[in-house]
């Protein structure tokens, strides 16, 4: 696939369709991939890569890139295309300035995931059939590809591209049986005390590095309320457990109905807080209360929170359980 993408990128650069390419750049090891803009064929040859470690969602970069001179080629994975569509809907990306090529994704892995499986000192990796052969400081290790998948890829909702100008490889399909709400359900089944304890344990680790917010394609505000002293709720490092709760509740609320469930927030969290469980709770509730809705599936529909029906459920559904 990487070769196919390289050839396509070069072709489009050559014929002037685009003047630069947004893709992934190889790093020092196998897993430290960096999103990058390539402006020439030499750049592409020097660093362009596409493999099972290219997990970054590139869509958010297009807010900036689509406002530059000329057209940019963007390689988007299925889940990136949902974010892309959502950003189009919110007028954050100038569609005409982007040439989207959909690229297939079989699920990604990353350094953290491999390390969590007990792999130490990763130097390189290559794929062989269903296995990943990892070269480490302490010898070679093998891991089945399924085991190497990141948590978010295990509950992948769709391998279909919802938007593209051109598609490379086979088009995938939505994955209806993705079980992505299982963890949410598990939490819902707990008692409030248990849930509170769980979330305190998780959120108290937050160091407010803002990686979740800054990587999130839905968090595209020019200035975040939490950075704006005039908002009255600005904060830096959480100085009280309340502020930890506040930041994450409000952030989840602000992206509710707009979050495409790409999973970047949990991927980047240096403290490994399962932030996607907050967003998924909103997605699950929205599906249950207002009908199934997938943010980013299209560019026209009204988001659930800017929409209503006359007979929506009453808020009492939360504390009375089902009473309309």
């Amino acid at each position: 696939m990487q070769e196919l993408m390289l050839a396509k990128a070069k072709e489009l650069l050559q014929n002037g369709t685009v003047n630069r390419v947004l893709g992934w750049q190889a790093g020092e090891f196998v897993y430290d991939i960096t999103p990058a803009v390539f402006e020439s064929e030499q750049d592409l040859d020097a660093g362009f890569v596409y493999n099972e470690f290219c997990g970054n969602n590139l869509s958010k970069y297009l807010i900036k890139e689509s406002r530059k001179e000329g057209k940019v080629l963007a390689f988007l994975k299925p889940c990136d295309t949902y974010s892309f569509n959502q950003l189009i809907k919110e007028h954050r990306i100038i569609r005409e300035n982007v040439y989207v090529i959909g690229v297939p994704c079989e699920g990604k892995t990353d350094g953290e995931t491999l390390k969590s499986k007990g792999v130490k000192g990763i130097l390189g990796a290559k794929s062989e059939g269903d296995e990943l052969i990892i070269d480490t400081l302490y010898g070679e290790q093998r891991l089945s590809k399924r085991d190497a998948l990141t948590a978010r890829c295990l509950t992948c909702k769709s391998k279909k591209h919802v938007v593209y100008d051109e598609l490379l490889g086979e088009e995938g399909e939505e994955v209806p049986e993705n079980h992505r709400f299982e963890e949410v359900e598990k939490l819902e089944a707990m008692t409030p005390d248990e849930r509170f304890a769980f979330w305190r344990g998780e959120l108290s680790r937050c160091i407010r590095c803002n990686a979740c917010r800054n990587v999130c394609p839905a968090c595209s505000c020019e200035k975040c309320v939490f950075d704006n002293p005039a908002s009255g709720i600005s904060q830096k490092a959480a100085a009280d457990s309340f502020e930890e709760n506040m930041f994450h509740i409000i952030r989840a609320f602000h992206v509710a109905g707009r979050c495409t469930d790409c999973g970047e927030c949990s991927r980047v969290c240096p403290q490994n807080i399962p932030l996607h469980l907050l967003n998924r709770k909103f997605i699950k509730d929205i599906d249950a209360f207002y009908g199934e809705y997938q943010a980013g599936e299209d560019t026209e529909s009204r988001a659930p929170l800017t929409n209503f029906t006359y007979d929506d459920v009453e808020p009492s559904i939360v504390y009375k359980g089902g009473k309309k």
């Binding site: 809907k89 919110e90 595209s220 505000c221 020019e222 200035k223 309320v225 704006n228 602000h254 988001a303």
Partner: protein, 665 residues
């Protein structure tokens, strides 16, 4: 830092009996920023107001808090007081210590404590208040009426009568609407044309009224008092200023097998046509889909016969741009399509007709010249079955409309009655679910049909209509009162089709940012109290576009809409509510969330150039609130994730300051 004055009212004993007012004014006097605090028996009295005025002057107050009754009672009073002392009236806050304190508590200590807290909250808010000035916008003294049926005509006439200019935009070649197709009107049985056509002529002759027939609204910009509208005048291929309506062309035109819309396709017209004799404007129109000259460049006969030289095959659609202060929607209704009701055999037999088709068949100007004849064979029918509620009151999905179409009971009674009157040899059956006849002389009318004219009313619905080879229609229905299934061999079946809003209404509503219900009827601003206004300021509703209506109701509503328009156009300037939303463009992302939740269409977007670091610039899409249209609900402020959108008078920081003051531990 504000200099705040606090005025605690006793309200006689209403407050003072339960709240220690002296303690309240004493405690609030120590709050930061408070430079004056007092209490008085009746703050709203002249003496009380003078205390406030004097304090504003003597202490150079920049904000005041009145602890008194509900702001719904005296906020306006104290705002005026402040203004008369030179303080901006929006620098006033009321702490409601009567309805929400003294009157609901008995324990004096508790009530006093609560009054102090409510006072603190008001003080906290005043600290963040900013002077607000109500903006003004000019009013263009001209109204647009969209739709030229009886609703639009009546509205236009009434507005013109008050001396204001009105434009009527009608998509058909003539104004008049559905009423032109109707034969007689219930419950008086006057001839519809006799009462309608004079009004049409009045419109044409009134120099305040300008008719854009064969035209459609293409774009609406602006807001109340200042709408900019683009109207597309479709090409008629006839110069309306030259055409005399003599009709020479329509007789000579060789293309004469075009189904006549006016008679619902029951007969034919020519490619160049005048819909009916009393059309206004009485100008011929060439149907571009039928005219051989326009399609193939061959013919040109009409141009040859036209002595006025009015034919212009090169005519193009023309966009007219006009300014209006108010817009009235009068887009009316249509009967639903009956093709899906195969149980009634509508698409199988020509003798199963809709009620509107039946109107044409019985109309003297109709295809049969007013003689009741079966469409299939032109024979006189002896047995007629009327079926009510076809497609109305259907809650089952996909089967019709959930609402009652309101007019069918009465016109069916009219049809049945007229049949029996003109042709006593006919048997007329009406299948009904309920007969709904609430209206002046309506029930009497329906009873006359039964009692005087011997129409057979059967409580029940028709299950199926089967056309037989001998031309009869076998009607199978149930008679619920007799508890039997009845079978009638009918010659004609007339279906009272449900009515629905015109298809053009939905896109129009989008252009107008006027809200609609799920059935595509326009929503009124208040179901009871503002029935002819749309929630969108400056948009008014007339006739069946708002809900099913008969002619008397439509005319009444048309007049009401006109009076609302006149009230608006009579003003030179509109004063805006100053508590409006406003967007901080430095923070706005242009994401459109706010626009989606705005019920008034007050938010639009502009691409704006911003200075960026290092002497660069960037163009960003940002929201702009039209303060003349915004009503200050605040829905947008919560939809906005970045907090760029805020509401004057109820800003985020003001409300949070109140929260802080109330919750202080």
């Amino acid at each position: 830092m504000q200099r705040i004055g606090v005025f605690v009212c006793w309200c006689g004993s209403n407050i003072a009996a339960t709240v220690d007012v002296a303690a309240v004014s004493e405690a609030l006097g120590h709050e930061p920023g408070v430079v004056f605090s007092t209490n008085y028996q009746y703050m709203c009295s002249e003496a009380g107001q003078n205390i406030i005025k004097n304090a504003i002057r003597d202490y150079q107050l920049t904000g005041i808090v009145v602890c008194s009754c509900s702001p719904r009672m005296h906020e306006a009073t104290f705002r005026k007081t402040a203004a008369s002392a030179g303080l901006n009236s929006y620098m006033v806050e009321i702490a409601n210590i009567r309805e929400q304190c003294s009157w609901i508590h008995k324990d004096k200590a508790q009530a006093t404590e609560k009054a102090i807290i409510l006072g603190r909250a008001a003080i906290a808010k005043v600290h963040l208040n900013a002077p607000l000035t109500a903006g003004e916008s000019p009013v263009t003294k001209r109204a647009l009426v969209i739709g030229g049926g009886i609703a639009g005509i009546q509205t236009a006439l009434d507005i013109a009568d008050a001396g204001f200019e009105v434009d009527i935009v009608e998509k058909q070649p003539t104004i008049g609407g559905k009423m032109t197709q109707i034969d007689k009107t219930f419950p008086t049985l006057d001839c519809a044309a006799c009462i309608l056509t004079p009004k049409m002529v009045d419109c044409a002759q009134n120099d305040k009224i300008n008719i854009f027939a064969y035209s459609e609204v293409k774009e609406v910009k602006g807001f109340v008092g200042n709408f900019h509208v683009k109207i597309n005048k479709k090409a008629r291929y006839v110069d309306a200023t030259k055409c005399t309506g003599c009709g020479e062309c329509t007789e000579k035109c060789p293309m004469k097998k075009i189904p006549n819309e006016f008679n619902l396709g029951l007969d034919n017209r020519h490619a160049i046509y005048i819909p009916f004799a009393q059309a206004v404007p009485k100008v011929a129109t060439i149907d571009p889909n039928a005219c051989n000259m326009l399609k193939n460049g061959k013919c040109g006969l009409c141009a040859k016969v036209c002595s006025a030289g009015a034919i212009d095959y090169k005519q193009k659609d023309e966009i007219v741009e006009r300014e209006y202060g108010a817009i009235v929607v009068a887009t009316g209704y249509n009967p639903i399509k009956l093709d899906d009701y195969d149980e009634y055999a509508y698409s199988l037999s020509k003798d199963v007709v809709s009620s509107l088709e039946f109107e044409r068949i019985t109309n003297a100007a109709g295809p049969t010249g007013g003689t009741l004849l079966r469409p299939s064979d032109g024979k006189h029918p002896h047995t007629l079955v009327f079926v009510q509620c076809v497609g109305s009151r259907c809650s089952a999905e996909g089967k019709g409309k959930s609402y009652c179409s309101k007019i069918c009971c009465m016109y069916t009674a009219k049809h049945a009655m007229l049949c029996r009157e003109k042709y006593p040899d006919t048997e007329v059956y009406v299948f009904y679910i309920d007969v709904r006849s609430p209206g002046k002389n309506y029930d009497e009318f329906y009873r006359r049909a039964v009692e005087e004219y011997g129409v057979h009313y059967i409580k029940g619905q028709v299950g199926k209509v089967v056309p037989r080879s001998d031309g009869k229609l076998l009607v199978q229905g149930s008679d619920l009162l007799a508890n039997e299934q009845v079978h009638i061999e009918a010659d004609m079946v007339v279906l009272a089709a449900a009515i629905e809003p015109d298809k053009s209404a939905r896109p129009l509503a989008t252009m107008l940012t006027a809200s609609m219900d799920t059935n595509d009827f326009f929503t009124e601003a208040h179901a009871k109290l503002r029935p002819v206004e749309s929630p969108t300021a400056g948009i008014f509703l007339s006739g069946a576009c708002q809900g099913p209506k008969d002619i008397p109701d439509t005319v009444a509503q048309a007049g009401a809409a006109a009076s609302k328009v006149i009230g608006l156009l009579a003003k030179d300037k509109l004063t805006c509510n100053p508590c409006t939303a406003h967007s901080d463009e430095m923070m706005c992302n242009g994401c459109s969330s706010c626009e989606k939740v705005c019920p008034y269409g007050a938010i639009s977007y502009v691409d704006k150039e911003f200075r960026m670091p290092n002497r660069t610039t960037a163009i960003r899409r940002v929201a702009v609130v039209n303060e003349a249209v915004c009503q200050g609900c605040g829905a947008c402020t919560v939809a906005c994730p970045s907090g760029a959108m805020d509401l004057k008078g109820f800003s985020n920081s003001q409300i949070m300051a109140e929260v802080d003051a109330i919750c202080k531990m």
